[in-house]
Symmetry: C2
Subunit: 197 residues, 2 copies
């Protein structure tokens, strides 16, 4: 997966690539591509995905999603290979620099979550991927606030949050979601589901 | 949520229902319905959902999904309220009676998983919900085999399985998914995603 090998790859014929697979993804014994979703990858709703930080091994999988945007919830600059991936696939980056503090210094900035939610709710930005570093806390809070807009009960929101955060679940994150006020946002869809009916 | 209260509910005007909410779902302080997704509910792919056993509290949420079918992976008969819910919403039930044995007596029947997969892959059956009792083992195995068809790498399949099974994760289930042969199923979609592109 190194840079030099990727250069070589462009020179190989499809037949040779199948026999000596050198790609960003991986292949099985029959030479078919095996996809590597990012850590903690999941579908949130139709056209909305979540995950931990994607690396080059995940790019061919991400291409299958036909993403239009990525919501990136960390303050650190986006790495060069990821920026290149976005460029070559016409994916727009929305960055919201939420610090990844540990308890008890956690402070999820509500204004940034509200701005990020606006991006999620704008159908022109979907399909989109929400990610932070591990796909647990910052991503979990944004998805939890989206669930509040979808009028999920708190226990189901926490059940979903904890599924990803597991042993790292934070009471402060859950309190943030509990207090997050959605009373001014009435007319939102309860689901983006592309029902066949 | 008892039977007698549900009978009464039909007599109440919408206005009174809002002030004295008695429904299968729940309402918030403004009288708006709050949805209660089933335990371990998640979206697997577009039009494919998974969960633990849905009870009456979950019915109004399930209605928002516009389900066409339910795949039920336990041998026990479907309870009367659930059967009624399916009838009144035109949802077809596909039951595959996989025993919920504990290790080391676990035996996931491959033929049933293959039959269930056929139901998932037939777009006429979607949107659909896959569920067993807890949404961990039987549901996890079926979803894991679907991921193999979607050519996910094993570590991502196990990452997803473990997210739901958590402390109850079974090596035998993971071994079943690892051994599940998809070499004869070549031309399947890697995603059901209803991409906006």
């Amino acid at each position: 997966m190194g840079g030099a090998i990727e250069e070589d790859e462009r020179e190989l014929t499809p037949e040779i690539k199948m026999r000596f697979p050198i790609s960003e993804g991986d292949v099985d014994r029959e030479g078919e591509e095996i996809f590597v979703p990012p850590l903690n990858f999941a579908m949130v709703d139709s056209g909305v995905f979540r995950s931990g930080f994607p690396d080059t091994a995940n790019f061919s999988f991400l291409q299958t999603l036909g993403l239009r945007s990525i919501i990136y919830l960390c303050p650190e600059p986006y790495p060069e290979p990821n920026t290149e991936f976005l460029k070559s696939n016409g994916i727009r980056l929305f960055q919201f620099g939420i610090e990844g503090c540990k308890e008890p210094w956690v402070n999820i900035p509500e204004d940034m979550i509200r701005e990020a939610l606006k991006v999620v709710l704008d159908s022109r930005n979907r399909p989109l991927l929400i990610h932070c570093k591990r796909g647990k806390h910052r991503t979990g809070c944004l998805v939890g606030c989206l669930r509040k807009l979808q009028r999920w009960c708190l226990s189901s929101i926490f059940n979903e949050y904890q599924r990803f955060a597991a042993a790292k679940a934070r009471v402060s994150d859950q309190r943030f979601m509990e207090l997050f006020d959605v009373s001014s946002s009435k007319n939102l869809p309860t689901s983006f589901s592309c029902s066949k009916r």
